[in-house]
């Protein structure tokens, strides 16, 4: 392993060392110091990844700093950093004490940094499941609420089944192609029937992780039960990781013929059912959970086209969706006191009693609805452009109509924020870490919405 290999793997090394450092030194340091170390570590890891040029040769057996890693690791690090900043205040209010939380976030970040670097199936699977493990802990970390533990258990059980299916799928692909190496496993003809069977199981497992209908039943309950910053992290980073797994397995080539119908159905059902079910929700986190399902439906639509434009759309949407959901859940987290503001009607009048956080929540709702000039519009535009270009006109029109319908429940939140009189107590002031995180997310939403060109250049660099 040479010096340049070590530099290219720096994000992984930093994340792992920081996680261990926080875990070991945490009991002796004040809570804000451990959070600060964790945030600093994430930011440094992201900076390293953004500044290192990708190489195709493996730095370690099974790990190579690919162009995909060069793009995705900063996204993951941003997600982790903002989550840690948002949790700083939230955990104090909810009495989630101890260094386990930042350490677990860093462990999950470590696994997320390994994932896009993986060059063989086993490393990929290990990274994917390590992320899930970290999330089992984070979802149930709020010991004061029974819902948190319940959510964690549901996620664990469903996730274990998904992991088993994915593992079986990977082993079938190995059996059919004869190698664990990712690029070879995709290219090798091998035994088509076994590989197809393996693919089928992998798609089911990834559908669980991406919460596509009909593998979505865990999502509303887990998002509702998990602490809001964890829900933010879960809805963004773990989904992006699962999408990345799918992209890496497809090798950025069109999916084989057998996958077309399953992906089509997954996308169609997720878009339609996700948006329709969200219309009925009164709990804001459940509503956002169903909206996540719909957004993952749009993502699958882009993957379905199998074209370079489609995969570029997926990568762009990954970044855009991350900032939008972090802003939404972050605003929810910072507006909650010792009781979470769970109902949409609890946000009545908050636009005036907490203008900044209410404004961020409203902005994230408009962005999720896909209204210009926010980043959400650019993401939706790219996805539907890729879909129409890839020939999926019917599905694109269905998607657009469901996106139009989705505006209703996003607007409902905005209506409550600004057009209804306040019903419950006004929110208390937020602390500076939360405000900074929300500020970063909202600036990103508007900046990407008005000047998407830099991000598009980065996305295209991945697909070269």
């Amino acid at each position: 392993m040479t010096y340049s290999d070590a530099i290219s793997l720096m994000p992984i090394i930093i994340a792992a060392c920081a996680a261990l450092l926080v875990l070991l030194a945490g009991p002796f340091l004040p809570g804000s110091m451990t959070s600060a170390i964790a945030v600093a570590a994430s930011v440094t890891a992201g900076a390293f990844a953004a500044c290192t040029t990708p190489e195709s040769a493996p730095a370690l057996p099974g790990l190579a700093f690919t162009p995909l890693a060069h793009y995705l690791i900063p996204v993951f690090c941003l997600s982790a950093a903002l989550t840690l900043m948002l949790s700083h205040g939230y955990n104090e209010r909810r009495a989630i004490k101890g260094e386990e939380y930042p350490a677990t976030v860093l462990f999950s970040l470590f696994a997320m940094c390994v994932l896009p670097c993986a060059t063989n199936l086993l490393t990929l699977f290990l990274a994917l499941e390590s992320i899930a493990f970290a999330f089992y802990i984070m979802v149930s970390i709020d010991l004061g609420r029974a819902e948190s533990g319940e959510a964690g258990l549901k996620y664990l059980l469903m996730g274990a089944v998904a992991a088993a299916l994915t593992a079986f799928g990977f082993s079938l692909i190995y059996a059919g192609s004869g190698t664990l190496n990712l690029s070879a496993a995709i290219a090798a003809p091998g035994n088509r029937a076994i590989i197809s069977a393996g693919w089928g199981l992998v798609v089911i497992g990834i559908a669980f992780k991406l919460s596509l209908v009909p593998a979505h039943l865990w999502t509303p309950d887990v998002y509702q039960g998990a602490p809001a910053p964890v829900a933010a992290y879960l809805s963004t980073a773990s989904k992006v990781a699962a999408a990345a797994v799918l992209l890496m397995l497809l090798g950025f080539a069109p999916p084989m013929g057998e996958l077309h119908v399953p992906l089509y159905l997954l996308s169609l059902l997720s878009m339609v059912i996700g948006n329709l079910a969200a219309l009925l929700q009164k709990n804001i986190k459940r509503m956002l959970a169903y909206s996540s399902i719909a957004h993952m439906g749009y993502l699958t639509l882009a993957i379905l086209t199998g074209s370079k434009e489609g995969y570029a759309a997926v990568l762009l949407y990954a970044a855009v969706y991350t900032v939008m959901n972090l802003a939404a859940f972050g605003a929810i987290a910072s507006l909650s006191t010792d009781e979470e503001r769970s109902q949409v009607s609890d946000y009545s009048g908050v636009g005036y009693s907490a203008p900044f956080r209410g404004g961020v929540l409203a902005l994230s709702m408009l962005a999720l609805a896909g209204i210009p000039p926010t980043a959400g519009f650019i993401g939706k535009f790219f996805i539907f452009y890729a879909a129409i270009r890839g020939g999926e006109l019917t599905l694109a029109i269905i998607g657009i109509i469901s996106a139009a319908a989705s505006a209703y429940f996003y607007l409902k939140v905005v209506v409550h924020l600004y057009m209804r009189p306040a019903e419950v107590d006004s929110p208390k002031p937020s602390n500076s870490a939360e405000s900074f995180a929300l500020c970063c997310a909202s600036v990103a939403i508007i900046a990407i919405g008005v000047f998407p060109a830099p991000l598009l250049r980065l996305v295209d660099a991945v697909l070269q």
Partner: protein, 494 residues
């Protein structure tokens, strides 16, 4: 005289800067009002100054007929460029927009009592969006401004409106949103079609016009565009959002909605719909005729049945915009100039009517016609202006609406006598509801003892300005028609 700084961008973004500046004044409402007025007035001055630009010089790189042009790279990957252009039609629309915004700011001086800085900030942000629609020549940029217009109006209706304001605001938003999204599919399809034919992908209007679209596809694409624009016009039967939105909006919101937002639909049809898909547009002409004529009659018919003043004026908007649609459908130089004149005239007249309804509402807190009666004696100045603007709305010769309607009818009669005949009947119906409104409010016996102060200085200035513009456009429409001549000739011969 040419400008060596990006004046079009300045025109679009000055109100937005004003909106951001206003956020700094969130604690001092009275200062906020003055700052908003200053920005609106500055914008109007700027657009008046643009009038001095030579409208005949051909600019290098600009499409034909455009005397001001700006072009910059924006998102190269998709061929999206930041392209703005002004020709005679957009100049007239920009003047109308900046003028009406000043009127809207003045009209809401006293009427809005809470969250005043936010209100004026949203008003100015709306102006930016509307000007962006009128000046964009790139389809993606146009779409961005088209959608961005919805957000401030949604807040204006939902926060400061009355009645079922949230219902009306959401209905307005969703109705327009779904139309726009279908138009987005059409825009993307056109873009891809052009790319496969020409090899280079672009959203620029000037280049997309040269795409040869297969006839069947062009029908669908134009249909999607027409659907989105017809919702904004509004054309029967896609008009059902308008009465609710107009009635429940605050006065300034109604003024901007009627005077400006509806015009964006008509303008976009002329600027984008017809040039991009000429054969499909002509295939849809009978449908447009039917919808326009029926809208004229239906709007007037239902207006007659209203008891709420504002709802009556709202339905009258449906009726008047039917004339605009009729003129566009005829697509001859006279008819099209009539349609564009009618857009300006309707903006001034209906804006004035909504302002007056707002003034009456501020005095008695009632918009029901039965509250009033015989107020001529009590508030002679107010009543005079009310009579003037209603007569203008009815199409009295000498006032502005007559010019537009006359040109539309003459132009349409040459192309389709049946449609023009149907529109004539609509004029009769227009007279019926106008006279009924005037008679029941101004004349006759008073129904309730009302205390009505007459117009204040501010209100008088607003009404006088609108009246002067009204009469001027009715008596001397020549300059405006001259501005429109060259672009219309280019559009109709193409």
């Amino acid at each position: 005289m040419s400008f060596d700084f990006p004046i079009l961008s300045l025109l679009i973004f000055l109100p937005l800067c004003g909106a951001l500046v206003l956020c700094a004044f969130w604690r001092s409402p009275s200062v906020a009002r003055s700052v908003a007025l200053a920005f609106a007035a500055a914008e109007f001055a700027l657009s008046a100054w643009v009038c001095t630009a030579s409208t005949l010089s051909a600019l290098p790189g600009a499409p034909a007929g455009f005397f001001l042009f700006e072009d910059a790279t924006w998102v190269e990957r998709f061929g999206i460029r930041y392209t703005l252009g002004m020709d005679g039609i957009s100049l007239v629309m920009v003047l109308l927009s900046s003028f009406i915004t000043v009127i809207a700011v003045l009209v809401s001086w006293k009427g809005i009592e809470e969250r005043i800085p936010l209100f004026f900030a949203l008003l100015l942000a709306m102006e930016s969006g509307i000007l962006g629609v009128f000046l964009s020549l790139d389809l993606f940029l146009f779409y961005l401004f088209w959608e961005a217009m919805l957000i401030p109006m949604f807040f204006l209706i939902g926060i400061w409106g009355h009645g079922r304001r949230v219902y009306s605001a959401v209905k307005f938003f969703l109705y327009t949103f779904i139309g726009s999204l279908l138009m987005l599919v059409a825009i993307i399809s056109l873009y891809l079609l052009h790319g496969t034919q020409a090899g280079s992908y672009t959203f620029s209007l000037a280049q997309l016009i040269h795409t040869s679209v297969p006839y069947g596809t062009s029908l669908w694409l134009y249909g999607a565009f027409l659907f989105a624009f017809a919702i904004k016009f509004p054309l029967f039967p896609l008009h059902t959002w308008l009465p609710d939105a107009h009635t429940d909006a605050p006065t300034a919101g109604s003024v901007i909605l009627a005077s400006l937002l509806l015009k964006t639909g008509a303008y976009s049809l002329i600027r984008f719909g017809y040039p991009l898909f000429p054969e499909a547009a002509h295939a849809f002409t009978p449908l447009l005729y039917a919808s326009a004529v029926f809208g004229i009659g239906y709007g007037a018919w239902v207006a007659f049945a209203q008891t709420d003043m504002k709802r009556l004026v709202a339905y009258s908007s449906v009726s008047h915009m039917g004339f605009v649609a009729l003129g566009i459908a005829a697509w001859s130089p006279i008819a099209l100039s009539g349609a564009l004149m009618q857009m300006v005239n309707h903006g001034v007249t209906t804006g004035a009517l909504f302002a007056m309804v707002g003034m009456l509402d501020e005095r008695t807190h009632s918009r029901e016609i039965t509250t009033y009666g015989g107020i001529w004696g009590k508030v002679p100045i107010l009543a005079f202006f009310f009579l003037l603007f209603n007569m203008a709305s009815a199409g009295l010769p000498g006032l502005n609406n007559f010019v537009g309607e006359f040109l539309v009818l003459v132009g349409t009669f040459r192309v389709s006598p049946a449609a023009a005949g149907g529109a004539f009947l609509g004029i009769v119906l227009t007279l019926i509801y106008t006279v009924r409104l005037v008679q029941e409010i101004l004349f006759g016996k008073e129904n309730k003892p009302l205390v009505l102060p007459d117009v204040t200085l501010r209100e008088g200035a607003v009404l006088a300005t609108l009246a002067v513009v009204d009469v001027y456009l009715g008596v001397h429409p020549g300059p405006v028609l001259d501005l429109l001549k060259v672009p219309i000739a280019l559009l109709t011969k193409a």
